[in-house]
Symmetry: C2
Subunit: 204 residues, 2 copies
């Protein structure tokens, strides 16, 4: 019983890894089986089909992304410098923990947009209902920049944080950074991104 769950979980973890690296179309069920160290038939025994297994992995991936976004958006501490530091720090943590997640999900959406209409649903203008959105709106108004849609600032947080991970191989190449240098580069951004955001918001 204990071992059953272990095998099933082992397959899902292998699937997650292979799907994230190769995408749905590029992943071979045999690759997943080998990665998991199991017989190919077991994959179908536990998960019926490649498609079903993929749906499972994808749903969990989307959930993770939603969760991290919700943390970012709905932290209810008042908006001042320290809050910006904190949410950026948390967000970088999440992305660092699963660096290939964003590119995986974005790539699958591009390959199969219609499938995601249902999966994502319409969260009723999710961002603009968030606490952070309203706080940014207030702050921008108070410094006379109410013509800026707070959405821009939120997209900037996400862009400046996630893009270095999405573009990592390319960035390492055009910058000449090696792995440790790149990691230091990311660590530096923990301080700098909040600083830049505060400038954008004329905060402090």
């Amino acid at each position: 019983m204990e071992k059953d769950i272990t095998t099933e979980e082992k397959i899902k973890e292998a699937a997650r890894k292979v799907f994230q690296q190769k995408g749905y179309a590029g992943a071979r069920t045999r690759d997943i089986a080998e990665e998991a160290g199991i017989n190919l038939a077991l994959l179908n025994y536990y998960y019926r089909s490649k498609e079903k297994l993929f749906e499972l992995v994808l749903d969990e991936s989307i959930l993770e992304i939603s969760k991290s976004l919700r943390i970012l958006l709905n932290d209810d501490s008042p908006l001042f410098g320290g809050k910006i530091d904190m949410i950026v720090d948390k967000y970088i943590d999440v992305v660092s923990t699963n660096p290939s997640l964003p590119l995986f999900v974005l790539g699958e959406i591009q390959a199969n947009p219609q499938k995601f209409q249902k999966k994502l649903g319409i969260p009723e203008a999710f961002i603009s209902n968030s606490h952070l959105y309203k706080q940014i709106h207030e702050q921008l108004k108070s410094v006379g920049m109410q013509e800026i849609n707070p959405m821009h600032i939120i997209i900037n947080i996400i862009s400046m944080t996630i893009f270095p991970f999405v573009g990592k191989p390319l960035i390492k190449n055009v910058s000449g950074m090696d792995e440790p240098e790149f990691n230091r580069f990311i660590e530096e951004r923990r301080k700098f991104i909040p600083m830049w955001l505060k400038m954008m918001l004329k905060l402090n």
Copy 2:
């Protein structure tokens, strides 16, 4: 003769479209043939194999990206507000013209990193030799922020510009924007991104 080139070109354009949408693994040669309105065998007649055709499309894609980056990095006008406006404007133009290009290339790198080692080569720390890098360095020094690696600012330009395209479906979803709203959003960023960059550089 005229018609030969047209057919050949038609196939390559169809391949570009299908590869960009589905990726190498997800693209069927039959899809490409159908998209081009030709018989499947013609694809192999002109390009030998799916792989060869893909290499061609990919090489051209990488070239386009390199080219746009070079424009950004090596503009030799002096660094002041107007220059920032100009390079960001140009860069948004390039990305708008081919919005699915970045995600395509980044996805293929993730699926097949080793292939890109050769393809990209090591351009001897490309960015840090650039004119823009040196200008940003000077500017940061002159306002007492020499501890900031200019690479950060360049990555910020690229992030804030490209990420909205890479993440477009997801952004539209979590923001509730429709297509025209999203386009207006991008247009707004033409003004805002230079403004934010000037704040980061304490320029003006």
